[in-house]
Every structure is written in structure tokens, then in C-alpha cells.
């Protein structure tokens, strides 16, 4: 839907005039993602690097590997402190609180953390975690992301979850009691045989637990998953799924949560700092099996991506210590990668951030933005450009406008390991 509309001359000037010189690539905030690849059971919709745990959890062995991995990467921090940490999986809460505490201490020795750094732990509302949240907090965890997914027992069963809705309620109560009120609930909609009322009931049940943050996703059938190969029967059609989203959005807003990203809602000030860093095209270390990182090399004016060995056994054997390979993002891909992240945010992007995080002049994307604006897909004020209400619904069409032209773009770099979706329904 790319319209070749002519641009009227009378449009207001761009928020920032194109600079005369090439902007300077700044060193953005630096976060840390830690991946824990094991689960008690792999869920049929999950496309993350997670593996069913057979036998004993190699807890100490894996912690040692993570520390070695961090040590190998630490020189690339370039003097920056860690702004946030996210422990995703798999199921990181399979690791005991004291183990997590030891890990954080060891990592802090390698790269200092900012004093108020948000440190999130992904957890299941199951029996393993019961009674341990206070200990996790004592170990340094400041935020928990809980994979609730649904409150309907039939749905939980079909989704392959090993917890019940009562488990979720108990976990939420324990989090509040443990002083970890800053927690997220993951919730999915457009589930098999779900109707609008069912989707709304799930939202109400989640809000009743007073989380600080809610991630509300449409169930997506990903390639390489059981659901991808054998889609479950009774999935709501596209129109019903859209209707569910619309009604749930209103319901969540009425509960006092502000939507700040396609699928993320938060009470005031409780937005996930770690994910905001992704969407704002910040840097992050990717430490752990299959973890992806993104690092800016100010000296060379390049931005590179890293990826660790995906298979846990191989990661443990040697992958963690392997020299870190940085694949530079070609300049042609930077606008797309920036916009793909930034326009997911309700508050959109600023020209200043684009220039400092990509090192490219704003004029690189100005044509696409004005064309999208003419089609009503993006809007702007004096500070930002963001997806309009229409553009939020058709965000793929919006960001596709920034894909590099020609077949060169088809040769995407890298492959394989999809990083664990940190707030996603993966645990």
C-alpha cells in the first residue's frame, strides 16, 4: 500500500531540519540480557530457544558459563554501566534464588550496574517458585515477569501450561507480599475457541491481581513450533481477533494502565526499562545459550549484532568462552531496524534519537515518513513521529516502507536462534 502521492509544498517543516554534516553515532545505554534455556515442559506455541529439561539442572555449570560469557564480552562495554538486566528463558526461575544472587554478584564484578538498574526475572506461576519470591528479591531481583497466559483452565491445558489459574493468583499474592509489586503478567488472546467474552474475562482476572505491567499478545503461530505445524482447531478469525484486541485495550485502559507499545501496558512509571531500551534501539549484551546482543562501536562508527551458540550442551562445552563475533548491520538496514523497534512505541521516535543511535542523517527516512504521513499512517508533533491509530493497526505496512530496496535486502544476515522474548509467553 505504498502510495506515490505527490507531496504538497505547503507541509510544515520537518521537526528537525536535515543536518549539514553526518551525525555522530553515540554510545547508547547498555542493557544485559541473560538467557536460561531450560523448561519443565516445552509449550506448543513457543518458538524461543527453550528445551525440556531431562534429568538434573546443570545449575552451577551453567552459572559458570554465563560468567565466563560475560567476561568475554565485558571489554565491549566501553566504560558504560549496565542500565537494566532481563533474565529470560526457558524458565530462569528453575534456578534457585541464591544461585541467581551469586550470578548477579559475579556479573557485577565484570561490568558495574547502574545503582537503580531494573533487574527482571521471568518466572512461572508454578509450584517451584512458590515461597521463593522474597528470596529472589533479596538476591537482587527488582521485577518479575509472570507467564500467566490465561485464566481459563481449558485454555491453559491446550497451551501446554503446567500451572493453574489458582497458581497464578497465589503467585501474584506472594509477589505483593514479597515487596515485588512491580511485576508483569503475560496474557494471550485469540486462543482456540475463545470468544470475546472469554478474552475479556482473562483481562479482568489479570487486572484483579494488580500487576504493575501487563503484556497482552495475540497468539501467533510461529514456524518451527508444534502449533505452527499443526494449528489448533477453533482459532478466532482475523476480524474476531481484532475485535478482542479493541475491547481488551479499552478494558485495560479503564483499569488505569497506559498502552505504551503494541502489546505492552503499564501503570504510571512502570514501563519495562529493559524492553524500552530495545525499542529505543539501545545496546545490550546477549549472554547465555542462543542469546542475541547489539553493540555500538563508536570508534569505528558501526553497530554490530552478536549471537551465542544456541544448543545448551554445546554452549556449556565451549560456546560460552568463544570469541565474540560481531556482524555489522549494513547502513542500508539501519533505518528499517530502528523503525521496526521505535515505531512500536506509542510515543514513537525522535529525529535526535534516530541520528545518535544509527549515525545516519534524519533525511535518510524523511521521504518515507512524509509519504506515510500523507497516507494517514504516521503523525507527528514538535517532538516525535509516531504511528497513528491506523498505523498502529497496520504497523507492518508502516515499517515495510523502510526496508532497503532491491534484492540485497533479501540476504538477511544471521539465522537460527531466536532470542527468548523477554516478556513473552515463553517461560
Amino acid at each position: 500500500m505504498s502510495g506515490p502521492e505527490a507531496q504538497p509544498e505547503t507541509r510544515p517543516a520537518l521537526p528537525t531540519a536535515p543536518p549539514l554534516t553526518v551525525p555522530t553515532l553515540a554510545a547508547p545505554p547498555l542493557a544485559l540480557y541473560l538467557h536460561f534455556p531450560w523448561c519443565v515442559r516445552k509449550c506448543p506455541y513457543c518458538d524461543f530457544n527453550s528445551h525440556t529439561l531431562h534429568g538434573q539442572l546443570p545449575q552451577q555449570h551453567y552459572l559458570d558459563a554465563l560468567v565466563a560469557d560475560m567476561a568475554a564480552q565485558a571489554p565491549l562495554a566501553g566504560g558504560r554501566e549496565i542500565s537494566s538486566i532481563f533474565m529470560g528463558g526457558g524458565t530462569p526461575s528453575l534456578f534457585a534464588p541464591e544461585a541467581i544472587g551469586r550470578l548477579l554478584e559475579a556479573l557485577r564484578q565484570l561490568v558495574p550496574f547502574q545503582p537503580q538498574a531494573e533487574i527482571t526475572l521471568e518466572a512461572n506461576p508454578g509450584t517451584i517458585e512458590r515461597g521463593r519470591f522474597a528470596e529472589y528479591r533479596a538476591a537482587g531481583i527488582t521485577r518479575v515477569s509472570l507467564g500467566a497466559q490465561s485464566f481459563a483452565s481449558a485454555q491453559l491445558e491446550r497451551l501446554g501450561r503446567i500451572h493453574s489459574s489458582d497458581d497464578t493468583r497465589t503467585a501474584a499474592a506472594e509477589l505483593h507480599a514479597a515487596g515485588l509489586a512491580n511485576f508483569n503478567l503475560d496474557l494471550m488472546y485469540a486462543l482456540p475457541d475463545q470468544d470475546l467474552a472469554g478474552a475479556l474475562e482473562d483481562v479482568r482476572a489479570a487486572l484483579a491481581l494488580k500487576p504493575a505491567h501487563l503484556s497482552h499478545y495475540q497468539l501467533t503461530l510461529e514456524p518451527g513450533t508444534l502449533f505452527g505445524a499443526l494449528p489448533p482447531a477453533g482459532l478466532p478469525d482475523e476480524d474476531l481477533a481484532a475485535l478482542m484486541q479493541q475491547h481488551c485495550q479499552s478494558e485495560i485502559a479503564a483499569g488505569g494502565y497506559r498502552q505504551y507499545e503494541v502489546s505492552a501496558y503499564a501503570r504510571d512509571g512502570a514501563g519495562c526499562a529493559h524492553n524500552l531500551n530495545y525499542w529505543n534501539f539501545g545496546d545490550y549484551f546477549g549472554v547465555g545459550a542462543g542469546a542475541h546482543g547489539k553493540l555500538t562501536d563508536q570508534a569505528h562508527g558501526t553497530i554490530g549484532r552478536t549471537q551465542r551458540e544456541r544448543e545448551p550442551r554445546r554452549y556449556l562445552a565451549s560456546g560460552a568462552q568463544a570469541p565474540l563475533a560481531l556482524r555489522d548491520i549494513p547502513d542500508a538496514d539501519l533505518p528499517f531496524e530502528f523503525m521496526m523497534n521505535g515505531l512500536r512505541l506509542v510515543d514513537g521516535v525522535t529525529s535526535a534519537r534516530f541520528e545518535s543511535r544509527t549515525g545516519l542523517p534524519w533525511s535518510t527516512v524523511a521521504t518515507q515518513l512524509t509519504s506515510l504521513e500523507a497516507r494517514g499512517l504516521v503523525e507527528r508533533n514538535s517532538e516525535y513521529w509516531r504511528a497513528s491509530t491506523l498505523g498502529q493497526r497496520f504497523l507492518n505496512d508502516v515499517i515495510a516502507a523502510f526496508l532497503p530496496p532491491g534484492p540485497a535486502s533479501a540476504q538477511s544476515r544471521g539465522q537460527g536462534a531466536d532470542r527468548k522474548n523477554p516478556e513473552g509467553p515463553g517461560a
Binding site: G3, V262, M340, N341, F394, D397, G416
Partner: protein
């Protein structure tokens, strides 16, 4: 001349013509085994994939008979499709005999019947060859009976061969020299050479395959083309064995190639007569005609920047394809492109595919249309090859549409269905004949109906058993109207159609329904309307898409997400934007798909 044999192979697609030709070449030592590339005669990749030969090529072989005599065998290839009946007739005119190759399990098909009748009419000795006798389903006795009943030639001495295994091919070679007569012709008479085929070579210009009927053609002589009256010096003569071999002369009865510095394919049209400039023959050989395109469609590059390269590509294809016509066309919906004329739908498919494959062009085509004869109120007669060129209704006295004569062969079980189809397509039955295992039908049908989807429908109602051949018959007046299609209120010129008034409402309904199916849901609702003049007679709505957004995106691998979006974008590139609406190629051809489930 006594030891020359000129012959063609007549066969339905897939009945094994090329395989048999390869086997003959091999047995006569034309190519060593290791040089044999399967199906030598089909040179273009495209032909190999489709299993049809588009341009005729020939090969000269030398065969030592059992009686110890050396023979020159000229195998003249014929194109194997209904669109190329004129080329077939010219190939046959160069021959004294033909092998009718029939698949031993599938039996006789309409196209072979038509070509065989042409051969018999031209006085050729037709040798029936029942091929694929190695197949378990082979039934040579039934097929022999079919040949006698349907084609009306004796199959008593039909050769039974397997071109694949080579069985019976040696005997067939012997039958060729014994039963096909030698060419007639007077070496002393003024030169008459028939152009069987011409093609363009980048280095030497036009190469013509000719059969010398009378006289002798020599290197260095000055020739005259009878159709153009132009003179050319002979640069090179020779024959294909199948490698090209230069010769000082080609005598009466012989087949070979001539290169005479001709730069344009129209300078040496198929069927033309070549004579000597100094001693011209009295009259050209009979049967020459300029081929007329019968089916027209607009072809447009999806990217408007490709217009120039599209024009160059058409010019290059045209070098080798005199049947291809084109002229610039500007469409408000599709931009700048060309109105192209083709012999038929297959020809159109082939040209479009070659443009896309060999020239890397991405094209969108409007629905094919036939050429109408329009009598205006002022007495003028126009030939209208595009709905857009149809004059306003008050200026039209009469619209005449092209009518074809169709020959159909179908097993009795499916006759009812085929009759129903022909009547739905406004056909008039001329003949119906029960011939044992098959029924021969002859119909007069409007070409426009055939162009739409007749062939596919015929195959589908007869489960693939019916076969079909046609030739142009005449123009005939009919109540035809222009049907406009509007997308979100805007008339889309490339979607307009000329249709019969009696079926207008039904066609319009089916058309908008089909388009609704084919146009993907977009950000906005899309209204599809069909109208005659200002009168909307059918409407359908494509509901708006609700959303297109990835639910999740974090710091992990973005490769897959990027690929997904690239795929979406690629899909849209195959569509043409009309106003705000993106319309896929299939929707422009929706009219061809109407009535199919």
C-alpha cells in the same frame, strides 16, 4: 533426387515426437550417443519444459537402407500447437510424406486429426506410427482402429515402435524410404524455394530454412523474396545434421538453410517463395499468407521504470517471432505499456513467460480480447483490439465478432457435457459423427468465448479426454456491449470487457464476485462494481483488513521478522496500485476464471 525423402512428424503434444526424432537422428549417426541431449529438436528451455516445439527446426540425416542405398532424409519439424496451424501447413508443404505418431494408450487426438487432414489434402503419404508400445497400457489394436475410423487412412501397415526403447525404429526407417515418395521438381526450372521457417541470429541476421521446389540455389547468387520484392545476396547455404554444415548449393528437392544478409524477420516470412533475381519464377508457391494476430492483451511493466527495457525486450522477441505484434498503450490504471497481438492464448503465455524469464521483467496483463470488426454509423469499418477503443454506442452501427470452426474429439461418455459447454459458449453445431471409440464434433464458436476459458473447461468437463483444434472462419454480427469495472468508484480501463448483451448480467455478477475473492483485504474497504454505460449492474465489497502487525518484537533475532515483511512487500510488488487500492495480477484476469470453482 530419387534418394531424397522429405517428411514431417505429426503428433499430439506428449505423444513422443521429439523422442522419436532423437532416435532417428541417433540411428542415422547424426550425433554420437554422448552428444545426444534428450530431445535435440526442442532447443529452447521453455519448449523443453512445456513439451512443445514452438519454432520449426529440421535435420538432414543420411540413411543406408537394407538394399545398400544411401538416402538423404530431411526431417522437417512442425510446431505442435493449435495456435501455429499456419506454420504447420507450411512445414507440411515442404514434405512428401509424414509420420503420424499416435500414443498407443491415449489414441488419436483432435490436433493430430487436423494436421493429418492438412497433410492428406496436400497429397502427402502418411505413415501411421503407433508409439509407446512398451507401456503396459498400450493398446495398438484399438489405436490402429481409431486411426482408420477417425482419420480415414489405412493402418494396416502401421509401424509399432517405442521411441523410448528404440524398438521398431529401424523398421520404421526402412518404411520411410520405401513408402514415402521422392520429391518432384525440375532442377533446370526457375528457382522456387519455400521458406519453412525463419529466425533471427545475432551474428548473421535472419536464417531461413527452405525447401527447394524447383531450380537450384547456389552460394553467392542474388535472390529475390517474392512477398517483399527485395533482392539479397546469398552469404551462406547449408544443412543441419543437426550441426550446421556449409554447402555450395541446394538442389531441387533438398532442404537446408539460407543466410542472405536479411536484418528483419519480416524480410523472409514463413511461406514466402525465394527465387532468382535474374531469372525469377512466374508465380510464387501457393499458400503464402501474412499471419494475423487474433488475440490481444495489454502488457504493462509493474515497475514503470522498466518501460524502456520492456520495449527493447519486445523488439528482440519480435526479431524471431513475426506473429507478435505490439504498439504502445497508455492505461490510466496500469500506466505505460504495450498492446500486444498474439496468434492465440498459448502464444501469449509463451511470450509473457519469455519476457519475464529471459528479460527479468515483471509484467501485469489485462484480460485478452479478440479483434472485433465494428461498422460505424458513418460507414467506416474499424478493427477494435481493445475494449477501450470501442467507439461510443451511438456511433456504432454493428459489432461483428470473429467466429471459428472448432473440431473436437471426445469419448462418448463425455459428449453430453461437451455439447452443454459448446451451447453455453454460444456455439452452433455443424457436425456430429460417432466413430467407434470417439465422437467427432464440429462447431462454430465465437473466438471470444474460446479465448476466455474454453480450453480449460473442455478439459475439465471431459476429464482431460477431449481434444480440440480450431481455425478462423468469419466475422459475424452480435449484440455486444462494453462492460466497465469500477474500483472504489473509479473506472479501471484495463478491466473493461466486450461481452454479449444476453449474458451481461450473469457475467458481471460472476466477475465482481471473482474479483472480490482475488483482491486481498486492504486497510480500506474496496468496492468493485460492473457497469454498462452509467448503469451499475453488479457490485461486491472487499471488507477492510483489521490489522497487520507483529504481536512481539524484542532484542532477539530479527531475521525471520524481516523476511516476513520482505515477503509481504514482495507480494505487493506483484500488484498494481489503482488509486489507493492494490490489485493483484489475477484480478485483472478474473474474467478468465469466472465460473471455475
Amino acid at each position: 533426387m530419387q534418394f531424397i525423402r522429405n517428411f514431417s512428424i505429426i503428433a499430439h503434444v506428449d505423444h513422443g515426437k521429439s523422442t522419436l526424432a532423437d532416435r532417428l537422428i541417433q540411428l542415422c549417426g547424426g550425433l554420437e550417443e554422448r552428444e545426444m541431449q534428450a530431445q535435440v529438436l526442442d532447443s529452447m528451455d521453455l519448449e523443453r519444459e512445456r513439451g512443445i516445439t514452438i519454432k520449426a527446426q529440421s535435420v538432414t540425416l543420411f540413411y543406408n537402407s537394407q538394399a545398400g542405398q544411401r538416402y538423404q532424409l530431411n526431417l522437417i519439424d512442425t510446431p505442435g500447437h493449435v495456435d501455429f496451424s499456419y506454420e504447420v501447413s507450411r512445414s507440411l508443404a515442404a514434405c512428401d510424406g509424414a509420420l503420424l505418431v499416435v500414443d498407443a494408450s491415449q489414441g488419436v487426438e483432435a490436433q493430430s486429426v487436423a494436421n493429418c487432414h492438412t497433410a492428406v489434402e496436400q497429397g502427402l503419404e502418411v505413415l501411421p506410427v503407433i508409439n509407446k508400445i512398451d507401456l503396459p497400457s498400450a493398446d495398438p489394436v484399438r489405436v490402429a482402429a481409431e486411426i482408420e475410423e477417425i482419420i480415414g487412412i489405412s493402418a494396416e501397415h502401421a509401424a509399432r515402435v517405442s521411441a523410448k526403447t528404440g524398438e521398431g525404429v529401424a523398421e520404421l526407417l526402412e518404411a520411410i524410404v520405401l513408402r514415402i515418395p521422392p520429391p518432384k521438381g525440375d532442377p533446370q526450372a526457375p528457382l522456387q524455394a519455400l521458406i519453412i521457417d525463419s529466425w533471427f541470429d545475432n551474428y548473421v541476421g535472419v536464417v531461413s530454412l527452405v525447401r527447394v521446389m524447383n531450380g537450384t540455389l547456389r552460394q553467392g547468387e542474388k535472390l529475390r523474396m517474392m512477398s517483399t520484392g527485395r533482392s539479397h545476396g546469398v552469404d551462406k547455404l547449408g544443412r543441419f545434421t543437426p550441426r550446421s554444415v556449409a554447402l555450395p548449393e541446394l538442389g531441387a528437392g533438398e532442404v537446408g538453410f539460407v543466410i542472405a544478409g536479411i536484418r528483419e524477420i519480416d524480410g523472409a516470412p514463413v511461406g514466402d517463395t525465394i527465387t532468382h533475381d535474374s531469372r525469377p519464377c512466374g508465380a510464387p508457391l501457393p499458400g503464402f499468407k501474412q499471419v494475423q494476430p487474433r488475440v490481444f492483451a495489454g502488457l504493462f511493466p509493474i515497475n514503470s521504470e522498466d518501460y524502456e527495457s520492456f520495449r527493447d525486450a519486445l523488439a528482440k522477441l519480435r526479431l524471431n517471432d513475426s506473429a507478435l505484434h505490439y504498439e504502445p498503450e497508455a492505461s490510466t490504471a496500469l500506466g505505460f505499456g504495450f498492446r500486444c497481438g498474439f496468434l492465440g492464448l498459448l502464444h501469449m503465455d509463451i511470450v509473457q513467460e519469455r519476457l519475464e524469464r529471459e528479460y527479468q521483467l515483471e509484467l501485469i496483463s489485462s484480460a485478452p480480447t479478440v479483434v472485433y470488426e465494428v461498422v460505424c454509423t458513418d460507414g467506416k469499418v474499424l478493427h477494435v483490439d481493445s475494449p477501450a477503443k470501442l467507439p461510443a454506442p451511438d456511433r456504432i452501427e454493428e459489432v461483428r465478432e470473429p467466429i471459428i470452426t472448432a473440431n473436437i474429439l471426445v469419448p462418448p461418455d463425455y459428449v453430453g457435457a461437451v455439447l452443454g459447454l459448446c451451447s453455453e459458449k454460444r456455439g452452433a453445431q455443424k457436425k456430429m459423427q460417432f466413430l467407434g471409440t470417439q465422437v467427432a464434433l464440429q462447431y462454430q464458436l465465437p473466438l471470444a468465448e474460446v479465448v476466455l476459458d474454453f480450453f480449460d473447461r473442455l478439459k475439465s468437463v471431459s476429464r482431460g479426454y477431449a481434444s480440440f483444434d480450431y481455425e478462423f472462419s468469419h466475422f459475424q454480427a452480435a449484440p455486444l456491449v462494453k462492460l466497465d469495472v469500477l474500483i472504489n468508484g473509479d473506472k479501471v480501463d484495463a478491466l473493461a470487457l466486450i461481452i454479449h448483451r444476453d449474458s451481461a448480467y450473469q457475467r458481471a455478477r460472476e466477475l465482481v464476485d471473482k474479483m472480490q475473492e482475488l483482491i486481498p483485504r486492504q486497510m480500506f474497504e474496496v468496492a468493485v462494481q460492473a457497469a454498462i454505460g452509467s448503469h451499475v449492474i453488479a457490485r461486491a465489497t472487499v471488507k477492510a483488513l483489521r490489522k497487520n502487525v507483529l504481536a512481539k518484537c524484542y532484542g532477539g533475532d530479527i531475521t525471520r521478522k524481516k523476511k516476513l515483511l520482505e515477503k509481504q512487500k514482495e507480494g505487493k510488488k506483484r500488484m498494481k496500485q489503482v488509486g489507493q487500492v492494490e490489485i493483484p495480477q489475477e484480478a485483472f484476469l478474473a474474467v478468465l476464471k469466472v465460473g471455475r470453482k
